[in-house]
């Protein structure tokens, strides 16, 4: 048979066969991918509608021609693929296909063999689709990933410079003003003591800020891949780190059940530690009580850390997550104003949200979400 037009010979097929053939033809003709049927030498015997739409060539333009003219600079590739068909029934490759109007596009091409009952190859079937946009998207993604990686590296370097080079002169200022204060105590006047006190205090606060800035920058630059994390263990580690403060303040920490999920364990520890440290720091006159737990709600785990401390006024609910924002003077409560900023960055990094509910004088409840894992088997 050398053409596929369904012959109108009623006697040759049963009505059902005829109906089936019509359906098959419609399916092939209307297929989203371009389809070419050739003989074993590659001469085109049939093309579908998508072929014409993708290449600009009509059926009449190409019938009888060898399909190698369609493939830009890939004559041998096609030949090689055809040869391989003797061993493997199915070949896939990416080729440039020439459009009738002169341009060309990148296509994913599949070459298959049609075999007779005697297992001889009678025809080749070529299916192809235009992957130009897909390839552009891939290239763009690769370019952005490279850019992001470079940007992260720069940040890491900056963080290292800040950590080392800034602290050196800082130490000199702090150490020698303290040395002067100690060495000349009583020999200088009271003003001198006061002035030196401010200088030392400034240097020490600068140190704390630099450390916190570093911690903030490291949330995104120094990450480990998410892994199975027992959030109870992350919380326990945070509590261990805060052991002294917990003892000193006589704090009571209550933990509910906590899930296992996909996360960065050390970042979660930092997150819990900052929240609980705040809960203890901003305690009221009562001995502090902190409750931590989590609930599964609509595909995400909602964690809470609630305290009975001094609380926060609603107008500050958003502000407290910004950098260097403090609601008290440093005499009242120490701190750099970065703790919650780091918390927010960690939660963002995990694809979650963080917010607070509170009333002045009635404690504060911090909530954050982490998406639950897609798989059940964690």
């Amino acid at each position: 048979m050398d053409n596929f037009d369904i012959p109108l010979v009623p006697g040759g097929y049963s009505r059902d066969d005829f109906a089936k053939l019509q359906i098959f033809e419609k399916i092939l003709k209307g297929n989203v991918e371009g389809i070419i049927i050739t003989g074993t030498c590659g001469n085109i015997e049939w093309v579908n509608n998508a072929f014409s739409a993708l290449t600009g060539y009509t059926k009449d333009d190409v019938l009888g021609k060898n399909l190698s003219f369609l493939f830009a600079g890939a004559k041998n590739v096609h030949k090689a693929m055809c040869q391989k068909l003797n061993e493997v029934n199915h070949q896939e490759a990416e080729n440039w296909i020439c459009h009738k109007e002169g341009g060309r596009f990148l296509a994913k091409v599949t070459l298959s063999a049609v075999r007779s009952d005697a297992d001889m190859i009678t025809h080749h079937v070529v299916e192809f689709s235009n992957i130009t946009e897909f390839r552009h998207a891939q290239d763009e993604l690769a370019r952005r990933t490279k850019e992001l990686s470079r940007s992260n590296q720069e940040l890491e370097q900056f963080a290292y410079v800040a950590s080392h080079d800034l602290q050196e002169p800082l130490r000199m200022v702090a150490s020698y003003t303290q040395l002067i204060a100690q060495r000349y105590r009583g020999k200088l006047d009271k003003d001198a003591d006061e002035f030196i006190g401010y200088a030392v205090d400034g240097a020490i606060r600068m140190q704390a800020i630099i450390n916190d800035l570093l911690a903030l920058s490291r949330v995104n630059t120094r990450t480990t891949a998410f892994a199975r994390t027992d959030t109870k263990m992350a919380l326990d580690k945070a509590l261990a780190n805060l052991r002294l403060v917990i003892e000193e303040t006589g704090a009571n920490i209550i933990c509910g059940a906590l899930p296992v999920l996909n996360a960065d364990s050390s970042q979660l520890t930092q997150l819990f530690q900052n929240l609980i440290s705040n809960a203890l720091k901003f305690r009221g006159s009562n001995s502090p009580c902190v409750q931590a737990g989590a609930e599964l709600q609509g595909g995400e785990w909602v964690f809470h850390v609630c305290d009975n401390g001094i609380g926060i006024a609603p107008e500050y609910f958003e502000r407290i997550f910004l950098m260097f924002q403090r609601l008290h003077s440093k005499q009242e409560y120490p701190g750099t104003g970065m703790g919650l900023t780091i918390c927010k960055k960690i939660v963002d990094h995990h694809g979650g949200r963080i917010w607070v509910k509170s009333e002045p004088g009635k404690g504060a409840s911090f909530y954050f979400t982490i998406p639950a894992a897609l798989k059940e088997d964690l």
Partner: protein
């Protein structure tokens, strides 16, 4: 005056390019009860010359302990550490890295190069003094060192 476990003043080699830190270390060691002599090299080349008793250091004593900063001009502290710990005549000398860097990569690299320990210089003066005095206490009243080094 406490004599340390060596029975004589300990010889410290401090490798540090910042004169402010040199002076602070001097002050810290001076005020301490345990007796010691402080020798100073201000860059990596000078440190190696001292250790190898070259040139003007021909009569230098073999230090009982080396306090080594990491970021030094000419020869970097990490190179000095590597050289000391790969030299059969020098590698037994305890090397205490004392640097402003807190960077994890520096900590890891130093221990991999066989530093005896790694200390980050405290910002607070009192703590700095305490740290230097602790080094003195630990290595010369608690730790046992070889009694007859070459």
């Amino acid at each position: 005056m406490n004599i340390n476990s060596l029975g004589r003043p300990a010889d410290f080699l401090l490798v540090e390019d910042n004169p402010g830190d040199v002076r602070l270390t001097q002050e810290a060691l001076k005020s301490h009860k345990v007796q010691n002599n402080l020798h100073v090299a201000t860059d990596g080349e000078e440190a190696m010359a001292f250790l190898r008793r070259q040139g003007k250091y021909a009569n230098a004593p073999r230090p009982d302990i080396i306090l080594l900063d990491l970021n030094l001009p000419r020869k970097d502290g990490r190179e000095v550490l590597a050289e000391i710990k790969s030299d059969p005549n020098l590698k037994a000398i305890p090397v205490v890295i004392i640097t402003s860097s807190e960077a994890e990569q520096d900590v890891v690299k130093s221990y991999n190069l066989n530093a005896n320990c790694y200390i980050t210089k405290p910002v607070n003066l009192d703590q700095f003094i305490k740290v230097v005095q602790s080094i003195n206490d630990f290595w010369f009243t608690i730790v046992k060192l070889p009694s007859n080094p070459q």
